[in-house]
């Protein structure tokens, strides 16, 4: 297993380099001018100066090389430096700089990660925690009212887009009832019970919208996987041994049914970082999704390139993690 993991990791490096280059080329082809959003009163010569100082218009291979060096060498060295391990001369390192803020891209990203992890990550966790028991009960009591209701709700949750459920919730719970704020306030500093309550309140709606969406998908998977397994011969064997229904369902069947579901859950983790763009927009959660949108709108190529590439890394990484988990959960799988 360890061998396999290492081999896969080694393979991932050239794959990711190719991906990064493709992203770079595509962004390079995209029209857009990082000075386009500056006030019109700025004269053309000044704009040209600005562009030059940002490094816009450099030949693509040089720009790409600089970015790769920034991403793989200078940024890691910088962060090592931050934790007290200094290698080389820190003053010579050019970090990846955002066109828009002129600050390092990684600082921007780090600022945004907590919001995204709290809102989107928590909704994923909630989604899973809701989905698994619902899937198990729905399958065990197939066609019961519980199953019918669960099927209906997940159909709705799955087919209605999050921007619609999000707006609907804002209309009902913010505008009509006034229970929750419609705008997520990132500057809120949680330092007392009251601010904690405020934080919870502003998280309720975005988390609920995304959790509903995630739970719909995962509960369907769980249900289907349980149904597949409930009719297997080994289930009859477990009953013939005199095991209780609880053991039959929650040990024998569940253990088998979880294998594909856990894989799907692992594969879905990267979407925590990238997939909540729309929900973040609606609730004004300034997380990574929103950062990406701003970057695209402002033609902030270093930012967009870096973010997109991080998403790509996460996808490759969690594919590997999913495979490894599969191998751990299913003893029939041998990777060597």
């Amino acid at each position: 297993m360890l061998n396999y993991t290492l081999r896969r990791l080694l393979f991932a490096i050239p794959t990711l380099l190719v991906i990064s280059f493709i992203i770079f080329v595509i962004l390079d082809l995209a029209p857009g001018d990082p000075t386009g959003q500056l006030p019109l009163t700025i004269p053309a010569e000044v704009r040209a100066k600005i562009r030059e100082s940002l490094g816009v218009g450099e030949p693509i291979h040089i720009a790409y090389f600089k970015w790769v060096r920034g991403f793989f060498v200078y940024e890691p060295l910088y962060w090592l430096d931050q934790i007290g391990i200094t290698i080389g001369d820190p003053s010579e390192r050019a970090r990846i700089i955002s066109y828009a803020t002129r600050g390092p891209v990684f600082d921007l990203i780090l600022e945004r990660i907590p919001q995204t992890l709290w809102v989107v990550g928590l909704s994923y966790v909630f989604g899973i925690l809701i989905a698994l028991p619902i899937g198990v009960i729905s399958a065990y009591k197939q066609y019961s009212w519980f199953d019918q209701l669960g099927t209906f709700i997940s159909m709705v949750g799955f087919s209605v887009p999050t921007f619609f459920t999000g707006l609907l919730m804002i209309v009902i719970f913010s505008v009509q009832l006034g229970w929750f704020p419609s705008v997520y306030d990132t500057t809120l500093d949680v330092n007392s019970w009251d601010t904690f309550i405020l934080q919870v309140k502003q998280m309720v709606m975005p988390v609920a919208v995304l959790a509903l969406y995630n739970a719909s998908q995962i509960s369907r998977f769980m249900r289907a996987s349980m149904l597949d397994n409930l009719t297997q011969d080994y289930v009859r064997t477990a009953r013939a041994k005199g095991m209780s229904e609880k053991v039959v369902v929650l040990t024998h069947v569940l253990r088998n049914s979880l294998i594909p579901v856990v894989t799907v859950i692992a594969l879905g983790v990267p979407t925590i970082f990238s997939g909540a763009i729309i929900t973040e927009q609606i609730f004004r959660v300034n997380g990574l999704g929103q950062l990406l949108i701003i970057g695209i709108q402002g033609s902030d190529f270093p930012l967009v390139q870096t973010l997109t590439f991080i998403f790509a890394i996460l996808i490759v990484l969690f594919n590997l993690i999913a495979d490894v988990i599969y191998g751990i959960l299913d003893p029939r799988i041998r990777y060597d």
Partner: protein, 334 residues
């Protein structure tokens, strides 16, 4: 109602009826079956595919999916109780405790993600209340009993690390774990190749002598049944059509269906698969409860009474029973 019975049987089944409620209507899978099992004896149940052998035996312990299955009538007397009326908890103690089950396909009957040892130890802990350590010790003994080499090492292997024959041995070990009074083996060798079949049959013979439990052996193969059984019950379309001590059945088969089955057996001077004949025609679809003889469409002796009345089991002396209007010995209607 069954003649020639000296001691009280360990299992006494009366008028068992099981149906399946399906989208295409009701399937009458088991239509009033009665049989008994005496201590330590081996009863073979033979019949073509779909004749209701498995459903009958699984009905005893309610191992069927209910619904669609429904056990509509019957009593299953075991240990002073009617198993069909037991509370689920009490029935659970019988399953795997007093009555062990082996199934047809050893490749799918074990749970693929648990170690074999865990699967053997489960009933030991559940029914006998053994500790982890005691259960492990007993599991090793059981694997040795069913002839699995280096038993203690193999406890930590997964089912896919065993061959088909070895897996069936594991299934037998599980079924025998709690010293059952009855072992029900549902075509335990059908999925295995011939040499392995013979080994498993030898093993069961040996275990039966050693442990003395009563066995119900379901099989397609009258040849196998002849070698191991005390009595044989022939089933057709959810009915018992003939029932006799093994010698009587082979010497004096009374039902046309039994005779046809015996005729399909290869005789000593013939060899090989191509010698196997089969009975022409198909067993009936059991969508309604028959009021004619269900074998009539395939029977060479069928006459007008067979179309009007379904024959029930008739006593022919010394426990030999047959359900047929035609007396094959006299060559005339009864």
């Amino acid at each position: 109602m069954l003649g020639g019975r000296a001691i009280k049987p360990v299992l006494d089944v009366t008028d068992l009826r099981t149906v399946f409620h399906t989208q295409d209507g009701t399937v009458h899978a088991v239509n009033g079956i009665s049989f008994y099992l005496e201590e330590g004896e081996l009863l073979s149940v033979v019949g073509e595919s779909g004749s209701g052998k498995s459903v009958t035996m699984m009905s005893l312990l309610k191992l069927l999916p209910i619904p669609p299955a429904e056990i509509v009538a019957g009593t299953v007397e075991f240990d002073g109780n009617d198993l069909l009326k037991l509370e689920p908890e009490a029935l659970r103690q019988v399953r795997g405790g007093d009555i062990g089950f082996i199934f047809q396909d050893p490749m799918t009957s074990l749970n693929p993600v648990f170690k074999v040892g865990f699967q053997i130890m489960e009933p030991l802990k559940e029914h006998l209340g053994l500790s982890e350590k005691e259960a492990r010790k007993r599991a090793v003994e059981l694997l040795e009993l069913v002839g699995i080499p280096s038993a203690s090492d193999r406890l930590d292997d997964y089912p896919h690390q065993f061959s088909g024959g070895m897996r069936q041995r594991v299934m037998i070990a599980i079924a025998l774990a709690c010293d059952p009074k009855i072992l029900i083996a549902d075509e335990p060798t059908t999925a295995l190749d011939v040499t392995i079949q013979a080994q498993i049959i030898e093993l069961v013979k040996k275990l039966r002598q050693k442990l003395g439990m009563a066995i119900v052996w379901i099989t397609h193969d009258l040849g196998v049944a002849a070698g191991i059984s005390d009595r044989i019950m022939v089933m057709y379309a959810g009915f018992v059509v003939e029932h006799a001590k093994v010698k009587d059945l082979y010497k004096r088969p009374l039902h046309p269906y039994t005779r046809a089955l015996l005729a399909t057996l290869p005789t000593d001077d013939e060899e090989g698969e191509d010698r196997l004949k089969s009975i022409s025609g198909l067993p009936p679809a059991l969508h309604e409860y028959p009021n004619s003889c269900p074998f009539a469409p395939r029977c060479e002796h069928a006459f007008d009474r067979c179309q009007k009345e379904n024959p029930l089991l008739m006593e022919m002396g010394d426990g030999h029973q047959v359900a047929c209007w035609w007396d094959v010995e006299k060559g005339a209607p009864r």
